[in-house]
């Protein structure tokens, strides 16, 4: 008898424990519902900082800035200039741009926006103590004159062609801006205002009720940097994410065939190219014939077809066709491995050579795959490529500024859609964010064309200069453009009103709404 009671009691205990254990996850599951009106966006790049005055990373400038700040001038989806915090502008003379400012705008903390804020912002951006990767955008400006509270003049030392385009990247700051606070809790005038930020986890913003334009269609945006492609895409498939940047090309057809997900696609201002270190050792860095041989040995058509699965275009120039003054009819890049072998032999490397090719992990999609494919194509002409992976930090890091590497495969986005954004830092010896560029030899003509493009306000003069520059760099390359990839977004069907922009710097969530 006693045995049986014990037995029963014991069974009861065991089952109670089991039931409790099974209930725990179920209970937990019940709490997991997400809020409506919250748009979840995922990107493949994390924020290092929210400081929009120093970074050129697309996460900071393209997301934090676009959500929470406004520039003086915006770009429409077709690329034309639109009023931002400036409602009108006129070029008074070659050196002076006059802007009328929008009235009645306030920052998220209540500070009114006015001429003082414009002057403060530009002076801050020009401050030489500010170690900013954006320096080259603003260095043409010498002064901001305040005409009255809502009218300013921006004065440049020399005529400065790309000024309007560059202004689209400049986030207007409140005069009480505090660097310490603003790197983690930005205050702007933008459509969304800051709620919280956990680096590496999420940035949360909510609709700004006092926004000067149309009120945003969603209450909240949660932005999540998710570096792992698989996790990000799985999140879109399962409905945890509404919009994901960066879709691996092999998944485009699968996602397109998925009922609730569609792919939004647009030509990006990115060119993926092979650049050389300024101190690149011979053979790569010495003889121009070697570089030509590498150029001829790359089978771009195969790359576009196999690696990018058609989600990219053959390069039409050193920069992408949607950038200002892109050359319309340069000859297509030729794939000629035999000629490459001949050139290598002429240059004194009949048996080829070994060289390093670097890339930054996670910086661009498909980049690792492209490097693997290129290394095989180069092996076919005798160039043995050692693939080297750099730590995850992109453009502006020491790697691109450092000089003693052989080859570096990366993407350069001409975010302002003005060629100056690309050619100045890459081909002008005085570029401010470059270290000791004296060993670069671009040739006097290249340097002078880069300057002509920058220091002219006449669009025709600029166009001619940039066309000539593209012709020279096409024939005698110092960097090898490889492909121009598309930007691909995976978008859930409940998201309405999302349209990708030609530059990730102007993508826009104001019109986006969440339906069912």
């Amino acid at each position: 008898m006693e045995n049986q009671t014990n037995h029963a009691r014991n069974r009861l205990l065991v089952s109670a424990v089991l039931v409790a254990a099974l209930l725990v996850p179920l209970l937990l599951f019940g709490f997991g519902m997400s809020q409506s009106g919250t748009l979840v966006v995922a990107h493949h790049e994390g924020f290092a900082t929210l400081d929009v005055t120093t970074s050129t990373r697309r996460s900071t400038l393209g997301i934090a800035r676009v959500l929470m700040f406004d520039p003086l001038i915006l770009r429409d989806s077709d690329g034309s200039f639109q009023p931002g915090l400036a409602t009108a502008w006129r070029q008074i003379d070659d050196l002076t741009l006059e802007l009328d400012l929008r009235q009645g705008v306030t920052f998220h903390d209540g500070t009114p926006f006015d001429a003082e804020s414009v002057r403060f912002t530009i002076e801050k951006l020009l401050d030489p103590d500010q170690r900013t990767a954006q320096g080259f955008l603003w260095e043409g400006i010498i002064e901001v004159q305040i005409i009255n509270d809502f009218q300013v003049r921006i004065v440049t030392a020399r005529p400065f062609g790309p000024l309007m385009a560059h202004l689209t990247l400049g986030a207007m700051l409140p005069p009480n801006f505090d660097s310490e606070v603003n790197t983690s809790q930005p205050v702007g005038t933008g459509p969304f205002q800051f709620v919280s930020w956990s680096p590496g986890e999420e940035l949360v913003v909510e609709a700004n009720p006092d926004f000067w334009g149309d009120a945003p269609g969603v209450e909240r945006v949660v932005f999540r940097p998710i570096i792992e492609d698989a996790t990000r895409i799985a999140g879109v498939m399962s409905g945890d994410i509404h919009i994901a940047f960066g879709v691996p090309v092999q998944l485009v057809s699968v996602l397109d065939a998925t009922a609730d997900v569609s792919i939004a696609r647009i030509q990006s201002p990115i060119t993926q190219h092979i650049s050389l270190g300024g101190d690149a050792r011979p053979p790569v860095g010495g003889d121009p014939r070697v570089l030509q041989a590498i150029d001829l040995a790359i089978d771009r058509e195969t790359l576009v077809r196999d690696i990018f699965q058609g989600q990219a275009e053959m390069p039409t120039s050193i920069y992408s066709p949607n950038v200002f003054a892109a050359h319309p009819n340069l000859p297509a890049k030729v794939y000629d491995p035999e000629r490459a072998i001949e050139l290598l032999a002429e240059a004194g490397y009949p048996d080829g050579f070994e060289a390093d090719m670097w890339y930054t992990a996670g910086a661009e999609l498909q980049i690792a795959d492209a490097v693997v494919a290129i290394s095989q194509q180069l092996a076919a002409v005798g160039i043995i490529v050692n693939i080297r992976v750099a730590a995850d930090w992109g453009v502006g890091g020491p790697i691109i500024n450092g000089r003693n590497f052989d080859m570096y495969y990366n993407g350069w986005a001409t975010y302002t859609l003005d060629p100056d954004f690309y050619v100045w830092p890459n081909f002008h010896p005085n570029a401010r964010n470059r270290e000791g560029t004296d060993t670069y030899e671009f040739g006097a003509e290249v340097v002078s064309l880069v300057e002509q493009g920058r220091f002219n306000t006449d669009p025709q003069v600029r166009t001619d200069a940039y066309h000539r520059l593209q012709e020279i760099l096409w024939e005698n390359p110092t960097r090898l453009p490889v492909v121009q990839p598309f930007d691909l977004y995976a978008v859930r069907s409940e998201v309405q009103g999302f349209s990708p922009r030609s530059s990730q710097m102007w993508w826009d969530l104001r019109q986006v709404t969440l339906g069912n």
Partner: protein, 305 residues
């Protein structure tokens, strides 16, 4: 009390040695951290200024004293990326990792003990053989592979659980399951093995011969004896669990210390690597210290000397 004090001092000594090891690992391994950080493409000027920034230009003992002083005052250095104190980034990453590790541990214990007892019910039976084979195999499953499979079925196909991140408790289910299932298999085996071992021992034979039922013997005697080795094993396995969180947090974009450590290693942010490795390891060490102390609660024969 002497026992507690002794163990505490022992723990501090180990902690000190671990910190020393972390310090030396960064500085004495064949690679030069500044060089590796720059990916051997930085200019000599960058190299020098980075060495200065990292304090590598000073004599080793000065660096060491500085490091120890930092540890005591809670100042673990600044990130090489944003110059912010690493503690700022670490502090809000601790709780998610502790939550994940402890939830997993809790669920595993809660399920593992009853299942282990059940598995010990009929040694040698067909069911027992199946349980032994299955648990033995599951033990060997890589948790990151399991994570992929779980995401594939439960997030994408069935859409039951979210795929990533931290939010409601539902977010906890898949990461905890990935970490917990191989661990659960081990605990079931451990409990089963322990119970059978004890059942075979003389004092249990005596108890049985006195006419006590098998159930009473198992619950009253055998289980208590099994508990201490089990708790010890759980404590040691916490290290394995924390190692697992490093990878599992990356898969699920779980904003804990583990994924932070991986980010730091990928970007070679050495001060952040040092600090997060130390904190994860200290957590392991301190937990085991408390487990040692808990023996007295589990077994009245252990007295704090």
């Amino acid at each position: 009390m002497t026992f507690v004090l002794n163990r505490f001092i022992q723990m501090l000594v180990t902690l000190f040695l671990m910190a020393t090891l972390v310090f030396l690992a960064i500085r004495l391994t064949p690679g030069d951290p500044a060089q590796i950080f720059l990916g051997d493409v930085g200019s000599p000027h960058q190299y020098e200024s980075l060495r200065e920034l990292m304090g590598l230009d000073r004599p080793l003992y000065v660096q060491y004293l500085d490091f120890l002083q930092g540890l005591v005052t809670g100042d673990l250095g600044e990130s090489l990326f944003d110059g912010q104190p690493v503690m700022n980034r670490i502090s809000h990453r601790i709780l998610p990792t502790v939550t994940l590790a402890l939830t997993t541990m809790f669920a595993v214990v809660l399920l593992g003990i009853p299942l282990g007892l059940l598995a010990a019910a009929a040694p040698g039976s067909f069911l027992d053989v199946v349980i032994r084979i299955v648990t033995y195999s599951i033990q060997a499953v890589a948790n990151f592979w399991l994570a992929i499979l779980l995401i594939m079925f439960f997030s994408i196909r069935l859409q039951w659980f979210p795929t990533f991140g931290q939010g409601g408790p539902a977010h906890l289910v898949l990461p905890a399951a990935s970490l917990g299932i191989p661990f659960l298999a081990r605990v079931v085996r451990f409990v089963r093995g322990g119970i059978l071992e004890v059942l075979d021992s003389d004092f249990v034979r005596t108890a049985r011969s006195k006419g006590l039922s098998r159930v009473v013997v198992v619950t009253k005697h055998a289980f208590r004896v099994t508990l201490i080795p089990l708790v010890t094993d759980l404590g040691l396995r916490l290290g394995w669990l924390l190692g697992g969180t490093v990878i599992i947090e990356t898969v699920f974009a779980w904003p804990g210390l583990g994924s932070l450590t991986v980010d730091a290693v990928r970007t070679r942010d050495y001060p952040l690597v040092e600090a997060s490795v130390l904190i994860l390891s200290a957590f392991f060490l301190v937990t085991n210290f408390f487990i040692d102390l808990s023996y007295g609660l589990l077994d009245p024969r252990v007295r704090y000397g």
